[in-house]
């Protein structure tokens, strides 16, 4: 029988995978994709809580998360494209203009 815990664990695992990619990868596009994975984990988290507690607030939050994810992806990707246009590079380790 699938209970709430299953969903929560799934959400946690997805989140950790996303975080792994976010911290370890050096390609900025994959970094953004990892953020999307983490967003998906959050969606599952809120939707499942809402489902099991019969409260629509979670669904509303999911709705907002999806909107925010779209916005975030648009801005992030335009930053990546801008970076690529100016520096011809999207690898984090080589973009160290801020080195102190």
């Amino acid at each position: 029988m699938v209970s709430l815990l299953f969903y929560l664990y799934l959400s946690i695992i997805l989140f950790l995978i996303g975080l792994f990619g976010f911290v370890f990868r050096r390609n900025l596009i994959i970094l953004l994709a990892s953020v999307e994975i983490m967003m998906n984990a959050l969606i599952i988290f809120f939707a499942s809580i809402s489902h099991f507690r019969h409260d629509a607030t979670g669904y509303i939050i999911v709705f907002f998360i999806i909107a925010m994810a779209a916005a975030e992806a648009a801005v992030g990707l335009s930053l990546v494209v801008g970076l690529y246009k100016r520096l011809k590079n999207i690898y984090t380790e080589e973009l160290n203009l801020f080195r102190g």
């Binding site: 975080l19 976010f22 911290v23 050096r26 970094l31 984090t92 973009l95 080195r99 102190g100």
Partner: protein, 657 residues
């Protein structure tokens, strides 16, 4: 003349409010968007707003003529105990007249600047500043209390600083701007003290309340260093300090000639027509205070007379066309103060009004000449000019009108107002009236002399600038410059007709209009024949000056060097401007630098401040080097540091439970 009773309006009135606000809005918008958006179209907004505000000020003037007076507060600005200041407007004959004068001239000079400043890299900056100046001047004129007057006073000083130093890459311009600013601060310090004193003794800063409470201090004395000083005198003196700074009266006159480093439209608007007359305006505004103390009146009269004389003696020795006109401004301002000092405030204001037009015209004409000569190494130098009559007919005619007007030739504006001042001084009940009259008469002939010296040297004879202009001939300025010249010339002819004295069949309407609000000493004129004699004398003085200039500079050019060769030391003394710059340099600048370099720099700076500051810097630096190692510039390292932070947070959470 029967005192007309006014209908006082105390509610907010939009047209009065818009008169100063429109230039302000235009200025701000131009300043923000000028550089990247308006560029060489920067003049549209300021010129349009000035035109509207000119129309509005005419409407307001019309309403004042109909017997309406405005006096309202927009909102209360400062409240501290019993001290309360509003941002308010007072429109009465005096301020309505000033307002119309300022907006009309400002509008025409804006139009003129379109041609004059064309192609300057700071085009938008110029229009923004000059609009801001107009706003400040209108705030000064329209205020209904001393603190707002002070605000406008400082703002015009600031704009003057900006505009004198407009070509800041020129060292002399930057220095002149600083000089003007610092000298003005000295006067404004006194002015500030004067306002404090007014508040201390009268408990208010609103004009109407001040005038109502003035009898309280009629017999008040203040002991200072063992002397009992009459309070109205001290008050008037301190306030007059501000006027001395702003209107460039002796001993604070040194900044005005140097201010000619600014663009010529600025000289015309700020340093001839409007800002420098603020001192006269203020003295007239507070005339009930000044007439309470004979000493204060004498001070005003003699400072004015001395400056008048001083400037008129320096002017004939100068070669910079704008400087000569600047000294003439000093001298004319002296006339205005002379008028105030003999109790004829409205005559002073009348001269202010006419002077604004003919002096602005002189400056703009000079600007037109400079515009034509701008390829010369020093376009201001009259020694390179000559014979320009042929090349620039419009400028020639307008300059001629202005020069005749300032020389007091009958029928032109300057004649009526100057003659009014001289007559008032002669018949004044104050004992120093006759002396003032004599000085005024003498200076009148000097004025005519040096004005026509410039005029003849620039427009008659042979053109001497062909070599420096590399054979190119000067040409008339574009229409956008000559049309304002013509319009102002109309003002320079007819503005005097508003106040034709009774002896010539007029009603002195201008003076009667102002005397409704400005204090006026009863000056009785015993008979008209004496007045006619005075008039003939002053016209003769002007004619003598003109003819001497004509003989020296047109008929017998070899006489030119006679004076400078035979009276070498006196000539040097005048040429060096009575050595005032040198005296101030050794009295104030050198000791200040000495103090700064030895005491402050060596002892205070090196031993106390440097060690403290360097110690702080070193500490920061060592921390910085430590933290620098963390700052690698790679995103992933920052991300892992977020993770580390989360670890710490979770660890704390976990071990807390």
């Amino acid at each position: 003349m029967v005192e007309k009773s006014f209908l006082v309006i105390t509610e907010f009135d939009l047209s009065v409010f818009l008169v100063p606000i429109l230039p302000f809005v235009a200025s701000i918008i131009t300043l923000i968007f000028g550089k990247s958006y308006f560029k060489d179209k920067s003049h549209y907004l300021p010129v349009l707003s000035l035109f509207l505000s000119f129309l509005l000020s005419l409407k307001v003037l019309y309403e004042v003529l109909q017997g309406k007076v405005y006096n309202f507060d927009l909102y209360t600005w400062v409240i501290a105990g019993s001290f309360s200041v509003g941002l308010g407007f007072q429109v009465d004959p005096l301020s309505a007249m000033m307002c119309a004068m300022v907006t009309s001239l400002a509008f025409l000079i804006h139009v003129y600047s379109i041609g004059y400043m064309h192609g300057d890299p700071g085009y938008y900056r110029f229009f923004s500043y000059i609009s801001l100046f107009t706003f400040s001047m209108l705030m000064l004129v329209l205020s209904n209390n001393l603190v707002q007057l002070y605000l406008g006073w400082e703002l015009v000083g600031l704009c003057s600083y900006f505009l004198i130093g407009f070509w800041y890459e020129k060292k002399s311009a930057a220095n002149a701007a600083i000089k003007a600013f610092v000298v003005n601060r000295i006067g404004d310090f006194g002015f500030g003290l004067g306002i404090f004193m007014v508040f201390y003794f009268l408990g208010t800063v609103y004009y109407q309340e001040i005038f109502a409470r003035l009898p309280q201090i009629k017999e008040a004395y203040l002991p200072i260093l063992g002397y009992e000083i009459h309070v109205p005198f001290l008050m008037a003196f301190l306030l007059f300090c501000g006027a001395m700074g702003k209107s460039a009266q002796f001993p604070l006159h040194v900044w005005l000639p140097d201010a000619m480093e600014g663009p010529t439209p600025v000289s015309a608007l700020i340093h001839a027509a409007t800002m420098v007359t603020a001192g006269v305006f203020m003295v007239s505004r507070l005339s009930p205070l000044y007439v309470m103390s004979n000493e204060a009146m004498a001070l005003v009269a003699f400072v004015g007379a001395f400056t008048c004389f001083l400037a008129a003696t320096i002017a004939p020795t100068q070669f910079d066309i704008k400087r000569v006109i600047a000294y003439s401004t000093l001298s004319q301002l002296g006339y205005m103060f002379m008028a105030c000092g003999v109790g004829a405030f409205s005559a002073g204001m009348f001269h202010l009004f006419t002077h604004a037009y003919f002096k602005a015209l002189l400056f703009l004409g000079a600007g037109s000449v400079i515009h034509a000569m701008h390829h010369a190494p020093d376009p201001n130098d009259i020694r390179y000019m000559g014979g320009l009559k042929r090349y620039m007919p419009i400028t020639y005619v307008t300059m001629l009108i202005a020069s005749l007007s300032i020389s007091g030739i009958p029928g032109l504006a300057g004649f009526f107002s100057k003659d009014e001042i001289l007559a008032m001084a002669f018949f004044s009940p104050y004992p120093w009236g006759k002396i003032i009259w004599a000085i005024g008469l003498f200076v009148a002939s000097l004025t005519a002399f040096y004005t026509f010296r410039v005029f003849f040297k620039a427009f008659h004879g042979e053109f001497r600038g062909l070599v420096v202009l590399h054979g190119k001939e000067p040409h008339e300025s574009p229409k956008v410059m000559t049309i304002p010249l013509i319009l102002i010339a109309v003002g320079a002819i007819f503005s005097g007709w508003l106040g034709i004295p009774e002896a010539l069949g007029g009603g002195a309407n201008f003076q009667r209009f102002l005397e409704q609000v400005v204090y006026h000493t009863e000056i009785t004129i015993p008979n008209h024949s004496l007045e006619y004699t005075l008039m003939v004398l002053s016209v003769l003085a002007g004619l003598i000056g003109i003819s001497v200039a004509y003989i020296i500079y047109v008929k017998r050019p070899n006489l030119e060097r006679l004076f400078s060769a035979n009276f070498r030391s006196l000539y040097q003394f005048l040429y060096r401007k009575w050595y005032f710059d040198e005296i101030y340099h050794y009295m104030f600048v050198v000791p200040t630098f000495f103090l700064a370099r030895t005491v402050v720099n060596l002892i205070l700076d090196t031993f106390i401040i440097d060690h403290t500051v360097n110690g702080a810097a070193k500490t920061t630096l060592s921390f910085g080097t430590l933290l620098r190692k963390v700052h690698v510039g790679i995103v992933n390292y920052y991300l892992i540091s977020i993770v580390i932070g989360l670890i710490i947070y979770f660890a704390i959470l976990y071990y807390l439970y």
